[in-house]
């Protein structure tokens, strides 16, 4: 099980209802929050760049759309662009991939979680938020098997509980936290 102080990357996955949680979490992050954060959210292609602007207005961290070959850097929040899978390379750079959809989703949370876990292992924290899709579950299982820290949003609190529920059922993880708990966890990193 990962020691929290070792965490070098946090990746957040969410689908419908997750924006609400993210908008609550971001403004509460410590001013000197220094762990890079990746957000993989299912989103409408036509809603395009708006998401970055919305998130940027809630945080002092730099919010950018993930670009291919970009080095993962503390102080940044990377948003997976619509219609591409986001993967992580061994040298801690980002890669984009237009492969087939996974779980009807591109970006797929499974793809990003697995890829990040493969590289960061016990230095990774995966947070799974609200959503109506089973995407993310396989990723959580994989990540937890290689020693990554898993945090699941409390389904009782999630706007759409299916995704966190699936993650709980499919894994032995019992790290179920409210948005408040997720904020405290992040600020303690």
């Amino acid at each position: 099980m990962a020691q929290d102080e070792m965490i070098e990357l946090v990746i957040i996955g969410g689908s419908s209802g997750s924006l609400d949680a993210i908008l609550k979490i971001l403004p509460e992050l410590r001013v000197d929050f220094a762990v890079p954060l990746i957000v993989v959210m299912h989103r409408n292609i036509s809603s395009n760049s708006l998401l970055e602007e919305v998130l940027a207005s809630r945080t002092h961290l730099k919010v950018v759309e993930a670009e291919e070959k970009e080095m993962i850097t503390p102080g940044y929040i990377y948003i997976a662009p619509p219609d591409y899978h986001l993967l992580i390379e061994k040298d801690h750079t980002l890669s984009l991939d237009y492969s087939e959809k996974v779980n009807y989703s591109r970006p797929s949370i499974d793809v990003s979680f697995e890829s990040a876990a493969e590289i960061y292992r016990e230095k990774l924290a995966c947070i799974i938020l609200s959503g109506a899709n089973a995407d993310g579950t396989k990723g959580v299982v994989y990540a937890s098997n290689v020693g990554s820290k898993i945090i699941i949003q409390d389904p009782a609190e999630a706007i759409v509980p299916f995704m966190p529920e699936q993650a709980i059922v499919q894994t032995s993880v019992n790290n179920v936290l409210s948005v408040k708990g997720i904020i405290s966890f992040l600020n303690a990193l």
Partner: protein
């Protein structure tokens, strides 16, 4: 990749790439590893081999099987008028310039199954310049090139393509460009007659002509930086002065060696113009 399926060890994965280059001459060593590894693993798992050794034996003893492997581990996903605003940019900003030339040569590098090439031919036809154009369509995979040549696509995709076409500024009835037969749509011979198809490997093959426009969309994202730069140099060699280079919406020449010779022509749509 150990025989306990489900994982690829980096070392074994890298050895596999070296062996492939040795035996078949296809060099994937400078591809972005995360995507390639994911696809090789998923190919391996789907194939239900009796272990990793069995998979390797098959791969290195059966050339046809190897070609199938190449086709599966490279990403061939494509669409007609994908990113409609890009095609709108071509229509409104690039084609009016090209139409002043006596003869237009266009290269689609990494054309996959050809949807992009047929989209371009439709734009050229609507601009009344198809007759003086030649579209060179190349890809690494012989199978997708064959498929592109046939001009046959699934009828079930036409609804989506028609919507894309309209968003790109198309004003005709999209279905007037093909004939539907059961679940297949065959595009007009007039479009195909202006296309030249060939296999071409951007890693190892050289420049073969001079073009006024080169499109290479959603191919460079699969290459590491060094290879991206080399391929961009190949395009630079193959492009006329004042020629245009169009990349995919997430790709850029920004950090490459050719950047200083080009000006951004349409930054949003990732089109550059050669200024030398």
């Amino acid at each position: 990749m150990t025989s306990t399926a489900g994982k690829i060890e980096w070392e074994e994965f890298e050895n596999l790439l070296v062996d492939i280059t040795d035996q078949y001459g296809y060099d994937f060593s400078q591809y972005s590893k995360a995507s390639l590894q994911r696809r090789i693993l998923s190919f391996y798992l789907k194939g239900k081999f009796g272990g990793y050794q069995d998979f390797k034996n098959r791969l290195f003893s059966d050339a046809n099987f190897f070609m199938y492997f190449v086709e599966e581990v490279t990403v061939n996903v494509t669409e007609m008028f994908r990113d409609p605003h890009f095609y709108k940019g071509l229509r409104e900003k690039i084609l009016p310039i090209l139409s002043t030339y006596p003869f237009i040569r266009i290269w689609h590098a990494g054309c996959s199954t050809g949807e992009e090439v047929y989209s371009m031919a439709i734009l050229l036809k609507e601009a009344n310049i198809l007759h003086k154009s030649l579209l060179y369509a190349t890809d690494l995979n012989p199978t997708v090139v064959e498929s592109a040549k046939s001009g046959i696509f699934k009828v079930s995709s036409m609804q989506q393509y028609s919507e894309n076409y309209i968003s790109s500024g198309g004003q005709k009835d999209f279905s007037s460009y093909y004939r539907a037969n059961y679940n297949l749509a065959k595009f007009d011979e007039e479009l195909t007659s202006k296309m030249v198809f060939s296999t071409h490997n951007l890693v190892s093959d050289s420049s073969f002509n001079e073009f006024q426009l080169i499109l290479c969309r959603n191919v460079l994202i699969y290459f590491e930086k060094k290879l991206q730069s080399r391929v961009l140099e190949l395009f630079d060699k193959s492009l006329d002065n004042l020629g245009f280079l169009a990349l995919g919406s997430k790709e850029s020449i920004k950090f490459s060696s050719i950047a200083s010779l080009y000006i951004p022509f349409d930054t949003k749509e990732k089109i550059w113009r050669k200024m030398k």
